[in-house]
């Protein structure tokens, strides 16, 4: 069973602001999800290498060549606020 404080911690990490009712609900739901995933513990996976990627691909490279950039006005065009070509954001420190 997950604790409420664990849910609060995960919510904080994800920048989700939950009210008390939501915290209760998600504690129950997340616990169920984790229990379901725990079914995998019944399998013996000691001989199975960890999966790094689901596709049978490796070493996909590009060459070190500079390509086109986004035009500056397009690059910041969707930002809610901008100033002098910069993205403008609320204070961070």
């Amino acid at each position: 069973m997950l604790t409420k404080s664990q849910v609060e911690h995960v919510a904080l990490l994800a920048r989700l602001y939950l009210d008390d009712e939501e915290k209760e609900r998600y504690t129950t739901q997340l616990t169920k999800i984790l229990e379901y995933a725990r079914n995998l513990d019944e399998l013996n996976t000691s001989d199975v290498p960890p999966t790094a990627h689901v596709l049978p691909l490796q070493n996909v490279f590009r060459q070190d060549v500079v390509g086109p950039h986004l035009p500056a006005e397009e690059a910041i065009g969707n930002s809610p606020e901008q100033e002098d070509g910069f993205f403008k954001v609320p204070r961070v420190l």
Partner: protein
């Protein structure tokens, strides 16, 4: 012997000088207008996909080998999550449990001549974050930040040391050697002042002899070698003082304040370093073949420590001279090219470390951009040997060569600086000087040896320094003694 010892590990970030970013085609060039070296990939726009720049792997292997690391046969990229506006995706692509390389070491020497070895935990690849400019609140308008993503996605190598370093001085020496070794591989400028080499330090203290590690702090904002030394000295003393008072050291990130000379707690980017790493599904794993590793190894230049030893053994240089001349690969290559063309290494060393370095420093020119090429310096030294010019005039000629890039022969011809070695001509000048300075002549003849120096100076002045000084000296003595 002090009752406490410090335990230090350094995390160094080196910016790689590729043309394009690690996962996209955007330029890594410095100085572009804000948000002009960006594309959908490095801006983290939905639907864009990263593709690994092969050159980054190649450079990474070079550094790994130069630091005696094992290169992983199989590695992958992971997402490191944190929310901060310098990161448009809210995660940084880095390497977590399967890094590019691991288990290396670096030998280095402190100023007292002691050699040390520091283990290298790992060298891994990751992307750089963007740049934030903080704006204070003014009147009614609140504080805010401006974001430039030009640096976002520039390739970095993170080089993590073992906690094998025991003092601030050792940390400085380790970092100096690390910088030299990485510079030799040619993958980075490693300029701390420009941010292409950055260093964070983890430090703790413990009673001497104890095997247990104390609580550590991480120090950031170390922008120079001097800052690393000063910040660690400060932090070590701070922690020892807390221990002596029986107070607790808090595990935290602290920032070095250069102006105040103190470290102070930093507000964290994220709670408790919970980065929730997981494999980046947008990037496929990397498998590095032994033949790739070997081809990189074959192309590695001779490392600085081997070069230092060789300069002492092969060229008979002092430890100090060998150290200075191998300080950068460019200096070492310049020196060796000179030695190939002029076979007296000690003379070459004196010119390179003396007059040439003085000129380079005064004009802030890097040796690879120096207009005096090795062949020209070699020619200058030969002109001294064959008596065409004096050593003193050669210094004047070098200055002119440095300014104009001309050959020494050209400078000599244009400025009429060929050494006067004609005894007749010198004698004539000496007669004139003697006639013009009866006072000093009389002084000398009365046994005041100092007067000779004055008279030599007058003759040299009359020839604008071109007379062979030894000949002037001999002939002048001869004439003065004749008249006694």
């Amino acid at each position: 012997m002090r009752a406490y010892e410090s335990v230090i590990g350094l995390e160094v970030h080196v910016e790689l000088k590729t043309n394009s970013k690690i996962f996209c085609h955007s330029s890594t060039a410095f100085g572009g207008k804000q948000n002009t070296h960006v594309c959908p990939v490095c801006l983290g726009l939905p639907g864009s996909l990263p593709v690994l720049n092969r050159q980054v792997v190649e450079y990474g292997i070079r550094v790994a080998l130069a630091l005696n690391c094992s290169v992983a046969r199989f590695c992958k990229f992971d997402r490191k999550h944190y929310f901060y506006p310098d990161l448009p995706k809210n995660y940084q692509i880095s390497q977590y449990d399967l890094p590019l390389s691991y288990d290396g070491y670096l030998d280095f020497e402190t100023d007292d001549g002691c050699t040390h070895q520091c283990g290298i935990v790992r060298v891994h690849m990751e992307e750089d974050a963007g740049k934030l400019i903080h704006r204070e609140e003014v009147g009614e308008s609140p504080a805010y930040a401006l974001v430039d993503y030009n640096r976002t996605g520039v390739p970095l190598l993170e080089i993590v040391s073992e906690p094998d370093i025991r003092s601030a001085e050792e940390a400085r020496a380790y970092l100096t050697e690390l910088k030299t070794v990485v510079q030799y591989t040619g993958v980075s400028d490693c300029k701390m002042e420009e941010g292409s080499l950055r260093c964070d330090a983890n430090v703790s203290v413990r009673p001497r002899g104890s095997k247990e590690l104390g609580v550590k702090t991480e120090i950031k904002n170390l922008n120079s070698f001097r800052a690393v030394h000063r910040a660690l000295d400060y932090e070590i003393e701070r922690q020892i003082a807390l221990c002596k008072e029986g107070r607790r050291i808090v595990q935290e990130t602290r920032s070095w304040d250069e102006a105040k000379g103190v470290t102070a707690p930093m507000r964290g980017k994220e709670e408790a370093h919970d980065y929730r790493y997981f494999p980046d599904p947008d990037l496929v794993p990397l498998v590095i073949s032994p033949s790739w590793i070997e081809s990189v190894r074959r192309d590695l230049p001779e490392p600085p420590d081997a070069r230092r030893r060789r300069y002492q053994e092969q060229y008979g240089l002092s430890v100090y001279n060998a150290r200075v001349l191998t300080g950068s690969r460019e200096t070492a290559e310049y020196f060796e090219e000179c030695v190939r063309l002029y076979s007296r290494p000690k003379t070459v060393a004196n010119w390179v470390m003396g007059d040439l370095t003085r000129l380079l420093n005064a004009e802030q020119v890097e040796i690879q951009d120096c207009r005096v090429r090795p062949a020209q310096l070699a020619a200058l030294m030969r002109l001294i040997d064959d008596g065409t010019i004096s050593g003193k005039i050669a210094k004047v000629i070098l200055e002119e060569m440095f300014a104009s890039g001309k050959d020494p022969e050209t400078v000599i011809r244009e400025k009429d600086l060929v050494q006067i070695t004609d005894a007749g001509a010198i004698s004539g000048l000496i007669e004139e000087v003697l006639a013009g300075h009866p006072g000093p002549v009389a002084d000398y003849r009365q046994g005041k040896g100092k007067a000779l120096g004055f008279l030599v100076g007058q003759v040299m002045k009359a020839t604008k320094g071109k007379a062979n000084p030894a000949m002037v000296n001999d002939l002048l003595k001869q004439k003065l003694d004749e008249g006694k």
